[in-house]
């Protein structure tokens, strides 16, 4: 019996299809992410606004003490601290949570066929929802402390879009590595902690003197800077965008190569 069999697709074409299909399923991952948030805050009256409140308390307490410590006026220090913390909190939580991208979806991955990138979008989108809740503090602080911001603040839109793209490749990359090597998630947590402290969130970049220009070499700083500076009515450091875009391009290409190679193994790893 002769049957003509359909052609086989190459791994990179399959990986590309996965990404495109995953993107087109926005209704699916956005609903899943909302479901995650609802489950996480089930039974609490304020929902994710609990995080917002705890952040307000942290900012108020730290603002009072650290502004003295660094000898900065509070109406300059507090907006700086607020925006920095909100963005940095988003970036570091994404990096830590994406380690579980595939591991936490184990039940789904081993039972239903769907694009792997759906799980990456779900994790990143969930964190974008939390970011949106924390973001409500920002305009309040800017108004209270009379930070003059003009229309150029609109650049935070492409900046956040670039951060989201970075979230996706990091999610796929760390999701895969963590599925294969189970000791990676705790290693990532420790690393993020170290980077958090060497990034000027609590302390002003100016405190570094001439070394300040080297700060964008730290990608976390570059990520925070492109959003924070415009919101404080300033321009980001010269190399922040360059470093961020470089990281985006290299990250996307590198992750795509690995994703194409190991995509079909993910099910076996988890």
């Amino acid at each position: 019996m002769s049957i003509d069999l359909p052609k086989r697709v190459s791994p990179s074409a399959a990986a590309w299809d996965d990404l495109v299909e995953g993107m087109s399923k926005s209704w699916m991952w956005s609903a899943m992410a909302m479901q995650d948030i609802r489950m996480r805050y089930r039974g609490s009256l304020l929902g994710p606004f609990w995080l917002t409140i705890s952040m307000v308390i942290m900012i108020a307490a730290m603002g009072l003490i650290y502004s003295r410590l660094f000898n900065m006026e509070i109406n300059r220090y507090l907006p700086f601290l607020t925006v920095g913390l909100v963005i940095c909190n988003f970036v570091s939580t994404v990096i830590i949570e994406v380690c579980q991208t595939f591991l936490s979806a184990q039940n789904v991955i081993t039972q239903v066929r769907m694009p792997f990138s759906v799980h990456a979008w779900r994790t990143v989108y969930r964190n974008l929802i939390v970011l949106a809740h924390n973001m409500v503090i920002v305009p309040l602080v800017l108004i209270i402390f009379r930070v003059s911001v003009d229309w150029t603040v609109i650049v935070i839109v492409p900046a956040l879009a670039v951060l989201t793209i970075n979230g996706i490749w990091i999610s796929i990359l760390l999701g895969m590595i963590s599925a294969r090597y189970r000791d990676v998630p705790p290693i990532v947590v420790s690393l993020v902690q170290v980077i958090f402290f060497i990034t000027p969130i609590f302390w002003p970049p100016e405190a570094l003197g001439i070394w300040m220009q080297a700060l964008p070499l730290n990608p976390l700083f570059a990520a925070v800077d492109v959003v924070r500076a415009p919101l404080l009515g300033a321009a980001p450091l010269t190399y922040s965008w360059t470093v961020l875009l470089l990281v985006t391009v290299v990250g996307c290409i590198g992750t795509f190569a690995l994703f194409a190679k190991f995509r079909s193994r993910i099910t076996y790893w988890i």
């Binding site: 069999l5 039972q111 239903v112 090597y181």
Partner: protein, 252 residues
């Protein structure tokens, strides 16, 4: 036209344990050539399917028979496109609906009605489309007022009713089912069979793994007997059931 064609297909599971799941140990092993961390590579390969060649065509209602661990569930997962074969090829055409696990996508805290929508989402059906089908699905389950209760209060039989109704709400071209179906009661199985007959006519495929010879006789027309990941026998369902009974008797 729906079909599933397997050519010399094998599936090997690397069972990662201990050192092989640790990046640190793998790195140490790479730099010290295995002296320090001898356990880094302790992976075992389990061959769950071995050189399987099989054609499943339109109208086939195929029963999978075999002892525990013979490879039935793995075969279903390969057919569903979940596991990529480690060797050989799978060619398929047709919309696949897989009922492998009743609880996929279900949130035990949500009500039956909410879970109908949720589960639909995992089957790639938009909530908008699903809402239009809720009533029809609710009627099929016969769960009545229970549909407004959280599904954590459901018995396994009730879960099966819900899972089956949702999974078959859009007639699939290829329906894959694991053993859990046999836990349904007689009246449900009767009803499920009638529903199946409406779409498992001439133009679609059913693959069912079960230990219930009764169910297999009723639902299937072809059968394969799996032993240690290989197809030991293939043919009419009644012959295969007898072959399996013979194999069991031989061992006893």
């Amino acid at each position: 036209m729906a079909f599933l064609r397997l050519r010399n297909l094998s599936v090997e599971f690397p069972v990662y344990q201990g050192g092989s799941q640790s990046l640190k140990k793998m790195l140490v092993a790479a730099t010290t050539q295995g002296n320090l961390a001898r356990d880094a590579m302790d992976r075992i390969n389990v061959r769950a399917l071995n050189d399987v060649t099989l054609d499943i065509e339109d109208g086939d209602r195929l029963g999978l028979i075999g002892a525990n661990g013979a490879g039935k569930t793995t075969l279903l997962r390969v057919l569903a496109g979940i596991y990529s074969p480690s060797r050989g090829e799978l060619y398929s055409s047709g919309r696949v609906s897989a009922l492998l696990d009743v609880s996929v996508g279900l949130n035990p805290e949500a009500t039956g009605r909410e879970n109908i929508i949720l589960r639909g989402m995992y089957m790639n059906i938009h909530p908008r489309e699903m809402r239009a089908r809720v009533d029809e699905i609710a009627e099929f389950t016969e769960l009545g007022p229970y549909l407004d209760m959280p599904t954590r209060t459901y018995s396994s039989g009730m879960m099966i009713r819900l899972g089956f109704a949702v999974s078959t709400c859009i007639p699939p071209e290829i329906l894959l089912m694991d053993e859990w179906l046999s836990a349904g009661d007689a009246s449900f199985l009767e009803k499920a069979q009638r529903r199946m007959e409406t779409f498992v006519g001439s133009s679609s495929i059913l693959v069912l793994a079960s230990h219930s010879t009764d169910l297999l006789r009723k639902w299937c027309n072809r059968g394969i007997l799996l032993q240690h990941g290989r197809i030991a026998a293939e043919g009419d369902i009644n012959d295969i059931i007898e072959a399996y009974a013979g194999a069991v008797a031989l061992r006893a």
